[in-house]
Amino acid sequence: MTDISRLVVVGASLAGLRAVEAARKAGFDGSVTLIGAEPHLPYDRPPLSKAFLDAEGDGTAPTFRERAQLEELGVELRLGAPATGLDTDGCVVTVDGTDEVPYDAVVIATGAHARTLPGAAALDGVHALRTVDDAREVRSALDAGARTVVIGAGFIGSEVASSAQKRGVDVTVLEALPTPLVRAAGPAMGAAIAALHERNGTTLRCGTGVRSLEGSGSVERVVLEDGSSIPADLVVVGIGVVPTVDWLQGSGLRLEDGIVCDERLWTGVPGVYAAGDVARWHNPTLQEVQRMENWTAAAEQGAAAARNAIAPAEARPYGTVPYFWSDWYDVRIQFVGSPNADEVVVVDGDPGTSGRWIALYRRGDRLVGALTVNGQSDVMKYRVQIMRGGSWDEALDFAARRRERSRGVSSPGSPVGSAV
């Protein structure tokens, strides 16, 4: 194995930033180059659909580090132009079609980009929400009091709707599927969380397909499949993301809904690792092949992939109990583990009436997931149990003790159906 003296990281967001920082922290003293398509320094995305949209905010990008801090780490920044190719035989990343950046080890962290509605790009006032530039457009439309339609009742769309509602702007959420959030939380809990919209005064229409967006120059209305239409000055399209792998076509990497990696985040090609939203890896903790779209996994994978890339002989597996959170209205939704369950049981609160509840997910005789809505003090205790491979019975006992502790009442858990 040749010496590794040149680390190249492609994608200058959370996973890429954590990769370069972890390499230095591990004592790597070779050259480190961070290539980013966006002109911005690495910034944090979760606030973009939350605090950033509030009327009180000032539209400043939530950057993680100053340029000087990265320079001090000895990171060469190449921002504002995308990598356009990876030659795994010659060990070279091509930037902007022409510039060649040679590597000994490379971490690919090009993340994901928003899926678009066909034909939507032609109209002003139609935005995805993935970048700080998107968020600025949405923010200024909300400032102007735009009548808002959100297409897609996923987490990001729902957070935008909640921000619009908070500002007193007219907002409607449209969801093509009969139940939102099924992939993230399963059908029963997807429906229960989505009901928070109506409870907070936002119209949510499920099973409603969009036929077209109309307007001259700027969007004026959203036309639905049933022929009716909703007037709109701002349309936010939140219909999911696609891993950014187009630039890797022909590179020889295995691309199947992301870059396929083993449990060490290795692609199988010497020197090439992947991390964050772009990586589809074998998660040894849950024994599932997964691609994450959450902050925690991107941060941890960035660091883990870089440590493995600079010392492949000592490469360690990376496993996690996935975690994400989302803030809507005055509610914090948190999910740990996997929603692929045989049974889901509400162990505290009542999704139908209260703004606080906890649901546990069973697969076989194991606890595999937990959803909490305003249950900040409980969620991580379940994460620890899932990490340890804790049993379902143990989780139910624990839930019963927590119920007693908090309210001195104990009622049996009520099954809410299977979530496959």
Partner: protein
């Protein structure tokens, strides 16, 4: 070595609690409570993971 929380950044997301439950707990109000401050050598690795895992970068280890 001890751990320091910047409460102006922390939003009670709780990642730290899942990685180092002996040190951190989010209470019923959703606020982080530091259960102990001093970090022994054996606990250092765990605490470093908590520092790296915090989504608001609110944790620091100081000598």
């Amino acid at each position: 070595m001890r751990v320091v929380v910047d409460y102006t950044k922390c939003t009670g997301l709780g990642i730290c609690e899942s990685l180092a439950p002996a040190f951190f707990e989010v209470n019923d109000e959703g606020d982080l409570v530091l259960l102990k401050e001093e970090v022994g050598d054996a606990e250092r690795q765990e605490l470093e993971e908590a520092v790296a895992g915090c989504p608001t970068e609110a944790l620091r280890l100081v000598d």
